[in-house]
């Protein structure tokens, strides 16, 4: 049976009007008011798909998933083409586990309600706490939890649950009522009342009235002085805490730079000193070497200069025809110290002369000294004679005899031994054997 057009159209218009009102309320999160409008809209036109879908959304938003499904299923049955409800149903039912979770939480709420209504509020609070943890937009659970907290006079926790409800559904009348009770017990109501009183002024403004900013305060004399002192203190504090550290840091940087420059100069000077010390050491070494060389030259005994002098004395003795003196001087000569070739030739001639007759002069001098009882001098002459001519058994024998007379048997026997061994068939060898007691 078809509907009379005029009534149907009127109902549809009224339904649309309620839908629009419901939509406006939903947009400002007055979900309770919106659901009332939408229910009226559907009461005038059950085919108003938008109203039914929006009502389902509101149920879903306040945690009533089953109620939402009811509305969307009816909607999709009444209008099967181009209906947003199908999408909503798919969102709920299409994702695995989601519907089961919703079912668990709703069932848990219902259990908590039974427990609360059977004088078991503690267990109910525990259950509801778990429900709102997993389903924070479940308005009914928050409301029941708030009521249970109020029953235990735990107004702070009740306020938290109600605050959450009013975030979801701003004009939920029961939540507003519960909240007013909570505020009256926490003192929040008085605070808000004072704020409200201050916010509105019933004084009528006159033309010459001046609006003073809330921060303005009229200062008395001592307050001004106090402010000046405070300002000076703040200025000093700013200088102390902001300016001084910066200045100090600047000075430190400057000093550090100067210190690094000075240290660099010191290092450079140290290097120069080291170089100079090394140079001084090298020069001192050279000086010592030169001094040693000079000392070698100046040395009286073995020095080069003294050898030249010795050679000059020998030549002078030759010139004076004083051969014994020349022989004595020759014994103190070190020919190797004289490198001059011309001198070496002279020295060679002198050496030949000394080897031919000089050794005998020394042996004679030794004999004279021995006879005079000066055995030390005698041994010295004998030794010098041997230095000129070592192959001289007579000197060796005489020298051994001197040692024997001095009772230096060991040295005497050594010399007798040389005579016996080196000159075995000589008369001196026989004498030496006799002297040794063979």
């Amino acid at each position: 049976m078809s509907r009379p057009v005029n009534y149907a159209e009127k109902c549809s218009r009224i339904s649309n009007a309620f839908y629009n009102a419901g939509l406006e309320k939903a947009q400002i999160r007055d979900l309770t008011g919106a659901s009332q409008c939408l229910k009226r809209s559907l009461a005038f036109d059950k085919y108003n798909t938008n109203a039914r879908n929006l009502l389902g959304l509101i149920y879903y938003e306040i945690g009533e998933t089953a109620e939402a499904l009811v509305q969307w299923v009816i909607s999709s049955n009444l209008k099967q083409e181009q209906n947003r409800a199908a999408h909503y149903i798919y969102e709920i039912q299409g994702k695995p586990g989601r519907l089961e979770d919703e079912s668990v939480h709703i069932r848990r709420y219902n259990q908590a309600l039974i427990q609360a209504q059977n004088d078991n509020p503690d267990l109910a609070i525990l259950q509801l706490g778990r429900v709102v943890d997993h389903k924070p937009n479940f308005v009914k659970a928050h409301m029941l939890l708030a009521l249970l907290y109020i029953g235990r006079e735990d107004y702070a926790r009740a306020g938290k649950s109600l605050y959450r409800v009013l975030q979801i559904d701003k004009n939920n009348p029961k939540a507003l009522w519960y909240m007013s009770v909570v505020k009256s017990h926490t003192g929040r109501a008085d605070v808000e009342k004072r704020k409200l009183k201050n916010a509105f002024s019933h004084h009528q403004m006159q033309d010459d009235d001046i609006i003073l900013p809330p921060s303005y305060r009229e200062n008395t004399g001592w307050q001004m002085v106090l402010h000046i002192v405070a300002g000076l203190a703040m200025g000093a504090a700013v200088i102390f805490f902001l300016v001084m550290p910066a200045r100090e840091e600047q000075l430190n940087d400057s000093h550090n730079r100067e210190m690094s420059q000075v240290l660099e100069q010191v290092n450079q000077k140290s290097m120069e000193i080291d170089e100079m010390e090394a140079s001084v050491t090298a020069m001192e070494s050279e000086r010592d070497a030169a001094a040693a060389e000079l000392q070698e030259i100046m040395d009286e005994n073995g020095g080069v200069l003294s050898q030249y002098q010795q050679l000059a004395h020998i030549l002078r003795a030759y010139k004076a025809d004083d051969f014994p003196t020349a022989v004595e001087l020759y014994t103190g000569l070190n020919p190797e110290a004289i490198s001059d070739e011309g001198m070496q030739a002279i020295i060679a001639e002198i050496r030949q002369d000394m080897e031919e007759r000089g050794y005998q002069v020394l042996a004679d001098l030794a004999g004279q000294a021995r006879d005079a009882g000066n055995t030390d001098l005698a041994l010295d002459y004998y030794q010098k004679s041997l230095n000129i001519k070592a192959d001289n058994p007579q000197v060796l024998y005489d020298m051994a005899m001197v040692y024997q007379s001095r009772e230096e048997e060991e040295r005497a026997n050594e010399l007798f031994g040389q005579v016996i061994l080196n000159y075995p068939d000589t008369e001196l060898a026989a004498k030496a054997k006799e002297a040794r007691g063979y």
């Binding site: 049976m1 009379p4 998933t65 219902n110 009914k140 029941l144 029953g151 009522w177």
Partner: protein
Amino acid sequence: MINFEEELSHFKPSLEVEQVEDAIVDSDLTDMADIMMSLIREGSESKKRNE
């Protein structure tokens, strides 16, 4: 002031997912247009009877 017991009694169980089908079946979808149609129909029937 809140009467705790009374308030608690006002809370109703939430519709569970398993109850959705029953809820749909039990839904009263009668709208104003249906009521108007019913009234018009009743009016026309009574008119016929009177005639």
